[in-house]
Every structure is written in structure tokens, then in C-alpha cells.
């Protein structure tokens, strides 16, 4: 199985896991954005996502595996790449030939990972505790108030916004790069690149908007 140890296979694995996470991010954004219009749709979708056994016991473990795989492989590749140049340059003008985002995926990735820790602490662990450990009764309208209250703190809202800026940088390079890694290069490449860059700005900006909107529209 030489393919599994080859640099190209690892690139493709990073690309595919990244694209999978982008699909998840898109659906997460759509559900969150519904909260801007009020509690009903958000509660209904959250209740479906939180209660459907296929989502909970098939999609959720796949997603967690996808996240773990993407960051473990990312760290592994970073270590391998560092080893490929053991003596560093005294002078290295990376900004003359490449973008900051492309050179520092490990930094933007690490910030996103730290954000995921906070996000799990805020939403995922309390949810698992509520449903599976404390076995509380079903409450289909609890999701919206829980979401809004989380954004009452300006520090938390600020941390979320900062993380989304780093997410934008990560997506700016990663999304278009994933197609290059998989060998995509044809007459549609330029259009696809434009779309990936639009996505990289639009989705994180949307998340920032949601966080700030909820911060200023608290339920009293």
C-alpha cells in the first residue's frame, strides 16, 4: 500500500477531509443563520439534528473522525515538512512569493482547533450531558435561548469573531488548494477559485454577523 505513505496521497486525504468539513460548515451556517429570523426554525432544525438517530449516531461520529483526521494529518505533515529543511534560512522572504494564509495554515488551523475546544465546552458537552447523562425530558424549544445566552458575554463573542477571521484565512487557501491537490486544473479552475474565495469570506463573515447580532439581541 505505497499509496498511503506517498506525499500525494496525504495531500488528497487532507483535501477530501477538508472538503467534507466545508460541507458540514455550510449546513451549520444555514441552521445558525435561521436564528437571526427568530426561534422557530432554529429550534425545529436543532431538535431534528439533536434527536435524529442517523444524525446522532452515524453522521456525528463520522464528523468527529473527519475533524480529528484533518488536524492529526495536518500536524503530522507540518512535522514532516519541518524536517525536510533542518537548517533554516537566515533570510527567507516568504511574503515575496506567497500569501500569509498559505504559509501559515498550521497557525490558522491551531486557532480553529482551540476554538473547537471552546465550542465543544459551550454547546456539545452540555448537550451530551443534558441528553445522555442526565437524561432530561425532551424540550424542543430550549435551543434558541441557550444559543442566545452564550453570546451575552462580549469576551466570548469577541473570541468567536476572532476565530472566524482565522477560519476565513484557513478557507481562503485551503478550499481552492484542495482542488489543486486532487489534480483539478481545467477551464473552470479560475471560476472555481473565485467561488472558493467568495465562500472563504462570506461564510465566516456570516458567522461573525450571527454572533454580533445575537450579542445585541439578548432575550430578557
Amino acid at each position: 500500500m505505497a499509496i498511503l505513505s506517498s506525499t500525494i496521497a496525504r495531500k488528497v486525504a487532507m483535501a477530501l477531509s477538508g472538503l467534507f468539513l466545508i460541507v458540514f460548515l455550510t449546513q451549520h451556517f444555514i441552521i445558525n443563520f435561521s436564528a437571526v429570523f427568530g426561534p422557530d426554525t432554529f429550534n425545529a432544525w436543532s431538535d431534528f439534528m439533536g434527536g435524529n438517530p442517523i444524525v446522532q449516531f452515524i453522521f456525528q461520529p463520522i464528523l468527529i473522525f473527519g475533524v480529528l483526521f484533518h488536524f492529526v494529518m495536518g500536524i503530522y505533515l507540518e512535522i514532516k515538512n519541518n524536517n525536510a529543511r533542518q537548517i533554516k534560512y537566515k533570510s527567507f522572504k516568504g511574503n515575496r512569493n506567497s500569501t500569509w494564509a498559505s504559509r501559515n495554515m498550521i497557525i490558522s488551523g491551531a486557532v480553529i482547533l482551540a476554538f473547537l475546544g471552546l465550542h465543544f465546552y459551550d454547546f456539545w458537552f452540555p448537550e451530551i450531558m443534558y441528553k445522555y447523562i442526565e437524561s432530561n425530558p425532551t424540550d424542543t424549544v430550549r435551543y434558541y435561548p441557550e444559543l442566545v445566552h452564550k453570546f451575552a458575554s462580549p469576551i466570548r463573542t469577541g473570541l468567536y469573531c476572532l476565530s472566524f477571521v482565522l477560519l476565513a484565512l484557513h478557507l481562503w487557501h485551503g478550499f481552492s488548494s484542495s482542488f489543486q491537490s486532487m489534480g483539478w486544473s481545467n477551464k473552470y479552475s479560475r471560476g472555481l477559485r473565485a467561488f472558493t474565495q467568495f465562500y472563504a469570506i462570506f461564510i465566516p463573515l456570516g458567522f461573525i454577523f450571527i454572533a454580533i447580532y445575537l450579542h445585541f439581541n439578548q432575550i430578557h
Partner: protein, 248 residues
């Protein structure tokens, strides 16, 4: 022009190297970078000191022998040229120039600014050829029709001189641009399709074995390449590799 040169000096492959500072006067803007180093070496030899060792051969940008990381960029601050084509007019009077060897685990330093780039030769030997019987009855290449676009693209890929600037520029010291150019120049032609599967698998395997890093698509290699080899070659190689891996 008066310059201060900070040059990496290393006695041999085992020795621990260090930067040494050399002031240099009388540099003309019309000199090439290598001619400037010749002037420095002449002075060092006259003083009884060891001259700075650096690679050079054709001095007209076609052999791929000269290298050097100059002020943080392979082949210096200009674009689409090799070090031998870099003119001193690109610098200003009083400048400090940092000159280092190309750095990569797969390019070990032999002495001073000279690195061993035979890893590129081994990648080429792993599959960068077509098997043609040349004993007496060579077929005219023009007898095989080739699409004009493919022929042009193949020629573009074949302009890679294997200097190693792509590896030097890459933050991961990846050799993907070089290897992909060598894969592409054959992959695009009917003559190269016959051995396409083994070629890409063997060349990538050799590239990995040499200890180059992974490509992370920063695009630095394409910008610094003296021959303007495009990143499209890397996409093509990835495609070829995936196809070959599935085919087996």
C-alpha cells in the same frame, strides 16, 4: 558600488558552517551576480584566503547549475532569471546581501554555497525518460501527430532546468514542481503515454524517498522558478498519480 556580503562558509559536508562578513568595493551595476563573486574571490585569493565555492557553468541561464539563496530568495530578487543572469544593478550602493546555499535535507551542503542536487538526478532516473530503440532505425518524431496545445505545454514543462529553486523557495522544501514538470513533459505526448503509469509512480516514490517535504500549494515555487514552470504541472502530476494508483 560598495557592498557588505554575508556569506555562508562551510569547510565540507561534515563541518558546521557559519556566516562570514565580507566588505566589497568596486562592484559595477553591469556585472552579473557571479561576476561580483568572482571579484570577491580574486581578492580573497590575493590575500591568501580560501575563495568562496559556488556552482556555475554556462552563465547564460540554461544549464541549471548556479543556485544561491540571495537575500531570502532563490536566484535573488529578480524574476524569471537564474543567479548568473542577475545583474548587480538590482542592488544599491551600501546594501548588505545575505548569500546562503539552497537549504533542504535532500540538498546537503558539500562546501560553502555548493549543494548536492543529485537527488534530482535520481528522481529523473526513476522514470523521467521514454524507452525508444535508437539502434539504427529511429522513427521520425514528426511521424506521430501531436496536438499543438499539448506540444506547447509539453515544451513549457520541458524548459525546467532542474536548478532546485522550487525546493529552495518552498517553505516545506518540496520537489513537487520539478518532479511534476518532468512527469508532465512526457504525460502530454503520445510517446510518453506508454510508460505513464510506472513513470509517475516511480518518480513520486523516489521523490518521497529523497526526503523532500509535502507540497502545500503556497505557489512560491512557481513565482521563484527561473523558467516560469506553472503550478498546473503539479495538478497534472496529482491527476496522473491518482489515475496510476487506481490502475495499479
Amino acid at each position: 558600488m560598495k557592498l557588505t556580503l554575508k556569506i555562508w562558509r562551510q569547510k565540507d559536508s561534515k563541518a558546521k558552517g557559519e556566516f562570514k562578513t565580507y566588505p566589497l568595493e568596486g562592484v559595477e551595476g553591469d556585472m552579473s551576480f557571479l561576476e561580483m563573486l568572482d571579484v570577491l574571490n580574486e581578492g580573497l585569493i590575493n590575500k591568501g584566503e580560501e575563495p568562496v565555492v559556488f556552482d556555475h557553468d554556462c552563465r547564460e541561464g540554461i544549464c541549471g547549475t548556479c543556485s544561491l539563496q540571495i537575500n531570502g530568495e532563490p536566484h535573488g530578487p529578480d524574476r524569471l532569471i537564474t543567479t548568473c543572469q542577475l545583474h548587480m544593478r538590482m542592488f544599491n550602493d551600501g546594501d548588505t546581501i545575505v548569500i546562503e546555499p539552497f537549504r533542504a535535507k535532500a540538498f546537503p551542503v558539500i562546501k560553502d554555497l555548493v549543494v548536492d542536487r543529485s537527488s534530482f538526478d535520481r528522481i529523473q532516473q526513476a522514470g523521467g525518460f521514454i524507452s525508444v530503440n535508437t539502434s539504427g532505425n529511429t522513427i521520425d518524431a514528426n511521424a506521430i501527430p501531436v496536438n499543438k496545445h499539448d506540444a506547447d505545454e509539453s515544451f513549457n514543462s520541458a524548459t525546467c532546468i532542474g536548478c532546485g529553486a522550487c525546493v529552495a523557495a518552498c517553505k516545506n522544501a518540496s520537489a513537487m514542481l520539478f518532479t511534476s514538470a518532468k512527469v508532465s513533459q512526457f504525460a502530454l505526448l503520445p510517446q510518453g503515454r506508454i510508460e505513464a503509469t510506472e513513470r509517475v509512480l516511480n518518480m513520486v516514490a523516489q521523490m518521497d524517498k529523497e526526503g523532500f517535504g509535502n507540497c502545500s500549494n503556497t505557489g512560491a515555487c512557481e513565482i521563484e522558478c527561473p523558467k516560469g514552470i506553472s503550478l498546473e504541472n503539479i495538478a497534472r502530476m496529482n491527476r496522473e498519480y491518482l489515475k496510476a494508483s487506481i490502475k495499479g
